[in-house]
Symmetry: C2
Subunit: 326 residues, 2 copies
DNA sequence: CTGAAAGCGCTAACAT
DNA sequence: ATGTTAGCGCTTTCAG
């Protein structure tokens, strides 16, 4: 029978293994030289004692921090209330778990990027993951976190990034629409300040220009509600529109809903496409572009966790998913 | 000129304030006695220096841990890949941020609840949030985490819980169906091991019994894919079914999709209801029951953060949302 | 009410 | 290759 289960410390492991704390530390942290026998004995002891290193102590002595901060830029704190962000945070937490690192998420006001400094100055912050990154944010990454920061979206010389080929994805969608015979293609854009959204918009314009077609843009913000309104605006301004490119699935779903409410058939009268391939896109048979958010978040989180010199920018492909809405 | 911004320590604050570290600590942690003047001077100094306490050091000395563990029970690690879980994790992270606490999420195999012990034995774990809680899990909460644990779902004498009134919500849905004239009401249930799901099933049976109607149950698992298959099964076994109660929105959406594919009109031929009111339920005009997941997660997280004697169980209401599918 | 002193558990020089 | 020795920044007895 084991006694009142006081969690084992490194000291305990060392004693049981018959070595000094330092040696035990070296073995367990896999740093410095250690003899095979020492390694063996320490490992066994640690195992037997169910030793779990104390993250706080480790972080303290290394001055390293105990949590990864996911900093999300946006107009309002409401940006945190988004399924994409939820997924990024949650995935990051999964990736961090084995490292004994927790995750925190905070909003950084678009018009007050300096807030990032306040947040990142906390010594508890071990790493930084920027989301919806802007240039201003990139410049504000504190020196202490250099090499411990990654960005989802744009990056910089100092901050590696993982990104989606939004341009390519959007171009593929628009080309698909064109191939399917659509010639009066409108787009409900994403927020202008978001680089990735503007890349989509540019791709849309590019393809239309190539094809000699007119541009029909309405401003959106990724929400379904805005998609609804945008659908009406599009049909009001250009009644003969035969396709609407949504900048997000939510937008597209809003568009479709409004269209159907107004008696417009989708895709017969107007084809509609989304962007992201959220779970319900398949249920609603939405034609869209799929992005491996999980893999992206994983890649980004790994960049900040594994000090290794990461490639400056990793681009994940956007892949067209043909379903019924277009 | 300020020098290389070395983050201020308590020592610095104390020096500037002209007091000892102990006093500074007492003021900042708001523990023990301190004179108003001391308080004033320490506060000012801390402010001027932009002092942020080092969470790791604090946790180390208090033996308190630096992160909140969200432990999710489920059959496979895949449970973590769910938008509901994402939302809980993300919300928890938001609530924890001001406390300097990070969040970790881990899967606990349904058939190996003992894993919880391994996870919770980590001294880095400051608190525990159980999700999809089972009785077995409740019994395994380590003593160290007593008073620092909360559960979403069932609780126990030692573990406060926040829960949804699944029974009431489901009953309301079934009654609505009845009122609308439906008499051959089937249900696609949730996983049987989940207490909250079984409460829904029981409520469904209860209302039907009261009304003298026959029960028509098909096993589901909250997924849309299973919903699709279940829809076919229902119509195969009971072709005259005029309503299907889904145990989740995803299930319901799957059911609807399959039904329409098979040429069955919704709601004209068969009414369909969901459960949860996920964002897309409104877009797809799904009649469902709404649950404040955010508020629930917030309440649960607060319970573990604020040591205060929490009420043993907080029940959040489930409210019927009438839309077009039923 | 305040200060001095003793660690929390771990790592990283520095000596062997 | 291993042990010894200092702390990391903070809280908390214990004496004043």
């Amino acid at each position: 029978m084991t006694m009142a289960h006081r969690p084992a410390t490194l000291e305990d492991v060392a004693r049981v293994a018959g070595v000094s704390r330092s040696t035990a530390s070296r073995v367990l942290a896999d740093s410095g030289f250690t003899s095979p026998i020492a390694r063996e004995r320490v490992r066994t002891a640690a195992d037997r004692l169910g030793y779990v290193p104390n993250a706080a102590a480790r972080a303290l002595v290394r001055g390293a921090g105990v949590r990864l901060l996911v900093a999300v830029a946006g107009a309002t704190p409401g940006v945190l209330d988004d399924s994409y962000i939820h997924q990024v945070v949650s995935t990051t937490a999964q990736v961090c778990a084995p490292y004994g690192l927790g995750v925190t998420v905070e909003w950084v006001p678009l018009d007050e990027p300096g807030q990032l400094t306040r947040l990142a100055d906390d010594r508890g912050v071990a790493g930084l993951l920027l989301v919806n990154t802007t240039e201003a944010l990139l410049d504000l990454v504190p020196r202490r976190l250099r090499g411990r920061t990654a960005s989802i979206g744009i990056g910089s010389a100092a901050v590696p990034s993982v990104d989606i080929d939004n341009g390519g994805g959007t171009a593929a969608i628009v080309r698909h629409l064109y191939t399917a015979g659509r010639r009066r293609i409108a787009m409900v854009t994403g927020p202008a300040w978001l680089t990735c959204a503007s890349r989509s918009t540019e791709a849309y314009r590019g393809v239309l220009r190539e094809a000699g077609l007119p541009v029909r843009e309405v401003a959106g913000d990724f929400t379904a509600a805005r998609g609804r309104a945008a659908a009406q605006e599009v049909l009001h301004r250009w009644p003969d529109t035969d396709a609407i490119v949504g900048s997000s699935d939510a937008t597209a779903l809003g568009v479709i809903d409004q269209l159907r409410t107004d008696g417009v058939r989708v895709p017969a009268d107007v084809a509609v496409t989304g962007f992201d391939d959220i779970p319900l896109a398949s249920v609603t048979a939405l034609t869209t572009a799929s992005h491996p958010v999980r893999r992206i978040a994983k890649a980004a989180a790994s960049m900040v966790l594994e000090q290794r010199s990461a490639p400056p920018v990793t681009v994940f492909p956007s892949s067209l998913v043909l379903r019924e809405s277009a």
